[in-house]
Amino acid sequence: MADLSINICGITSPNPFWLASGPPSNSGEQVMRAFDMGWGGAVWKTVGNPIVNVSSRLGAVGYAGSPVMGLNNIELITDRPLEVNFKEIYEVKKRYPDNAVVVSLMVESKDEWKDIIRRSEDTGADGLELNFGCPHGMCERGMGSAVGQEPDVLREITSWAREFATTPVIAKLTPNVTNILDPGIAAVEGGADAISLINTLKSIIGVDLKNLVIQPTVGIEGTQGGYCGPAVKPVALHMAGTLARDERITVPISGIGGISNWYDAAEFLALGSTSVQVCTAVMHYGYRIVAGMIDGLNNYLDEMGMKSVNDLIGRAVSTYVEWGDLDLNFGVNAKINSKTCIGCQLCYIACLDGGHQCIHTHQGPCSAFHGKADHGINPRTSIMPPVMHSDKNESEAHIPFVDDDECIGCNLCQLVCPVPECVTMEEVPSTAGKESWNERVAKELS
């Protein structure tokens, strides 16, 4: 069994799995149950000045039968009294000294920050997370993502927090920006000890087509809310990875966004996050999912021969290069395994209509779409003689095949194939050495 314990900017945790600030970390009773289930840490639901919530608050978008591919919410920060929250945080930390307890904060003025930081630290919490991310409701009052989108304001508030706090300060960023490096660098300059990201994306989750009103619906109206869940993971990976590989980001990262499984978490760790935070998956399935995450990560680390989760952190960061540095001489071709192919022809139609017309079927003439893939404007029928494929017997006739000369190695057929490992992408050996676009341009200039 590998060692899963982590230390992020001085905050230690028995494993990298934390509850993100949100409904699952709303109360002491909940957080203690989560810790009992195995969660390593929790970022408390954001505390601040009193607010009032609306009903309803959540909307979801499903895909192909799964009800929650993405979730959005218009819920604000905690609607429970500050004293109650602080009392419960104190109790939790006292009873669970080994788990990480971080308090998420959001207030406006310097005096308010000073006051709330002092009271938060009095609870014995391990650290503070500054909520610069919430993109709905609070931002209209000049907080949350309104701060996260203004690097100068973000830098200043972070520096206040750094000035008042004795425990580590984590700045939580909004993804609703053009370049995540701007707020990221501002947070470091302001003195943040770590950065967590992403908060939710501004979104409209859907329209109720029966009543023609935006969802989630409050009476006969709706508003934009924060989007999260499995659908946002690629966005989050991109942003967390961008910060991780930039030399100006000198602080550790806590990754957030669509993490539902051990492998989602492992991808964030490999792209440079030290801890990961989970909310939507818990809202969907409950705290119990952490058991599978711990077990899965352990198995994976063992399989990879890694003794500690720290061996995984950042391992894939350097594989990112800009497009211009990619090797133009590298190539792969798709190969369809006719033994496992079930003949659904999803690869065929995907390549024909949405790819590069390189996959053909054995039955009938392929005259229109066969031959050298010139991707030109000439109708193939007028320039190519019909190619007949009728040599196959009935059972094989519906199995498509890839024309090796035409295949441009885009992966599309492999991605749409419902059978695992039926379509494989195989490297085409090349004698030419590596050459990138940038190198080619440089060579032509010289």
Partner: protein, 459 residues
Amino acid sequence: MAVTNGVPSKNILANKRLEIEFGDAKPLYTQVEAILEANRCLYCYDAPCTKACPAKIDIPSFITKIAGGNLLGSARTILTANMLGLSTGRVCPVEELCVGACVYNDLNHQPIQIGRLQRYVVQKALEIEQSGSRQLFVPKEDCGKKVALIGAGPASLACASYLTMEGIKSVIFEKSDLPGGLNTTGVAPYKLQTEEWLQEVKWLLSYGVELKTSVEAGRDFQLDSLLGDYDAVFIGIGLGSDRKLGIPVEDGTTVWGATELIQKIKNEPNFQIPEKVRSVVVIGGGNTAIDIARELAMLGVRESKIVYRRTEKEMRGYKHEMTGAREYGVRLFENLRPVEIILDDNRVTVLRAEPTTTDQVREFPCDWVVAAIGQEEHVSHLSADMKMDENGRVIVDPITRETSLPNIYAGGDCVNGGKEVINAVEDGREAAFAMLRSWGMETKPNHGIQQQKDTSGGR
């Protein structure tokens, strides 16, 4: 000409019929079940299920529409290819057709339950239509053409409804008092009950098809005379009575024909199986033999046996049907040819059968013998000039379904000798579109029926 008009009403059949004793073999999906199942569909291109469907329903499209909540659209996709979508959803041997072709079979994964999805969609769509809020189809205005259809089975009903949609006046002549053909008289009740089927017939007729029952060709009117009154004639009279065993004793009280018996179970309120009937031998190897054997076992006959002259491998009946029948205790005896029925006090006591492999005669003590060895052809009564094959089947053009006599078309069992309901539907539909083409009327690629424009507006 004797004419009895009538759309069958719900009360046409008495209660307490034997067939009502069965639950649904494949119950109607709930909405949740349907959506979960629909979402499993891979949406194959050039889909094997559609290729395997005699009516060529665009199955992936109708299933995707279920997943998207578009029930009326889904039902239209089915019905434009197969107007009898509701009953075929139940009686089609999907294991041999669409479901058997599903690519999930190759993954050793449960194939998509296409028949159940089809039944769900069509039933729900008909409910929506019957609630009065929306209409599935709007027939075109009467164009002045008229078609007579002989026999009110699936072939004629399909043909007539497609014609009606295009504004052709269609009149069906049925010799019995109930329409529906073999769905009414020959499909085992555990698969399809008469009442439900007649509801579907009622819906088909509701688009303007005229039905005349208790009128028989040759007796009440002549085929030739119809051509004077109508622009074309479609013959969908199916097959005749059960074929006889050809051995002594065929009386109809203890020796039955299979469809004769099924018809009694399905439609006759006073018909009961006497308690002393404990053992039945069914003779035959087709689906009807399996059906009646299973039906009788389900009705409580203690011993239900099938005697077949060849081996199980050579049975015309489907393997899944035999497996299903065995679950109810039906037993199969192979390589036996019936030679004699021994009576005692005018009742069957023993069926003697001669093995085709040895000469040891076997005796089956039994109370009933059911012959399920096919039905007689009876088309030849209609016209002496029409070309038939050596088995008495009407010869038609494979594309248009036109017979050797101009403007006379035919389809269903009288042409194919006894196939599935869906084959009859295909024949009826193709004949309808061939007629339309012959009159220079447009038929759209997917046999598109004029669809109602959605005018339901906002909320």
